[in-house]
């Protein structure tokens, strides 16, 4: 397991960069929000690998959970505003 860890970390970092690019460059807003949430989720896994579970939990709860939900909430609101 321990010799696989650097490769797993590299893979996670790569995923993070790709997800961040999708979040910035993507055309669809919901997918951009999900990609931004994925960045946080991967970051929290990385924190876990770096042996800091407390930070990982904060990142998962706030960065990946609450913020993603909040973006969707605001997105729904903005769309409703467009129609009426």
């Amino acid at each position: 397991m321990s010799h696989l860890l650097p490769w797993l970390t590299a893979l996670l970092c790569f995923t993070m960069v790709v997800a961040a690019l999708v979040a910035i460059r993507g055309k669809s807003t919901p997918i951009a929000i999900l990609a931004a949430g994925l960045v946080s989720l991967v970051a929290s896994v990385l924190f876990l690998i770096l042996a800091s579970p407390d930070v990982a939990m904060t990142e998962a709860a706030i960065g990946s959970g609450l913020t993603t939900f909040l973006f969707f909430f605001v997105l729904g609101r903005v769309r409703r505003g467009d129609h009426g």
Partner: protein, 230 residues
């Protein structure tokens, strides 16, 4: 063109800085002075199994009080700004869908329970007041997503928030008189390391922080949900 070149040069500089940092990194073979102090003394002095929690709640308790104050100010300002905007009038909304409604009914109790578990066990397992509070707030947000017209009592949220803050500071002051200093956890018996009722006042303080953080996030979300026009 020039702008792009400047951006690329800036990126290259950042890359060089981080690369030197990464290449020059050697893991410490032993804990440094501060880390060793906490690692050796926490269990004996404070009786907390989670050293991070012991640092956050007791050794650096004043910083945590400051963080909670910052969050309180943010929630208060959001409430203040949104209170001046027009309240939403009832208009027909798109139905949110069967999946979300049913899923919410199923998930909300479990999310709330997980939040409470996280902050009650803050001194034993990873996590604590801030994480637990955020988890509780995400349950509130899920309820709002499923039913945007749902009304949360602001008086109840404000009461929970203020009482938690009041008891938090009172416990801190009690530490000043009964134990070693402000926010000292040894005003209650330390108990056995690793049990739920142990580590003195840490579980009580972290539960109060969890309630306070959860109430602050929830009040922000409820204010956002209730305001129609900004």
């Amino acid at each position: 063109m020039v702008k792009r070149l400047i951006a690329l040069a800036l990126l290259a500089v950042f890359g060089a800085v981080f690369a030197t940092l990464l290449l020059g990194y050697t893991p410490d073979s032993e804990l440094n002075l501060t880390a060793r102090y906490y690692a050796e003394r926490t269990a004996a002095e404070l009786g907390a199994a989670n050293i991070v929690t012991a640092i956050v709640v007791t050794y650096r308790g004043l910083d945590t009080l400051g963080e909670v104050t910052v969050l309180f100010l943010a929630a208060a300002i959001v409430g203040l700004v949104l209170a001046n905007s027009r309240p939403g009038q009832a208009r027909e909304r798109a139905p949110v869908g069967e999946l979300l409604t049913t899923g919410t009914r199923f998930l909300v109790p479990m999310i709330l329970l997980l939040g409470v578990y996280v902050f009650v066990n803050g001194h034993l397992t990873p996590g604590g007041g801030f994480q637990g509070g955020a988890i509780i707030a995400s349950a509130v947000l899920l309820m709002l997503l499923a039913n945007p017209l749902r009304h949360f009592s602001h008086n109840l949220i404000a009461a929970i928030e203020s009482l938690a803050g009041l008891f938090y500071v009172t416990l801190g002051l009690a530490g000043l008189f009964l134990a070693g200093g402000f926010l000292d956890n040894r005003i209650l018996p330390l108990g056995n390391l690793g049990e739920l009722i142990s580590a003195g006042a840490i579980p009580v303080i972290y539960s109060l922080i969890g309630l306070k953080v959860g109430a602050e996030f929830s009040s922000m979300l409820a204010s956002l949900a209730e305001t129609e026009e900004l």
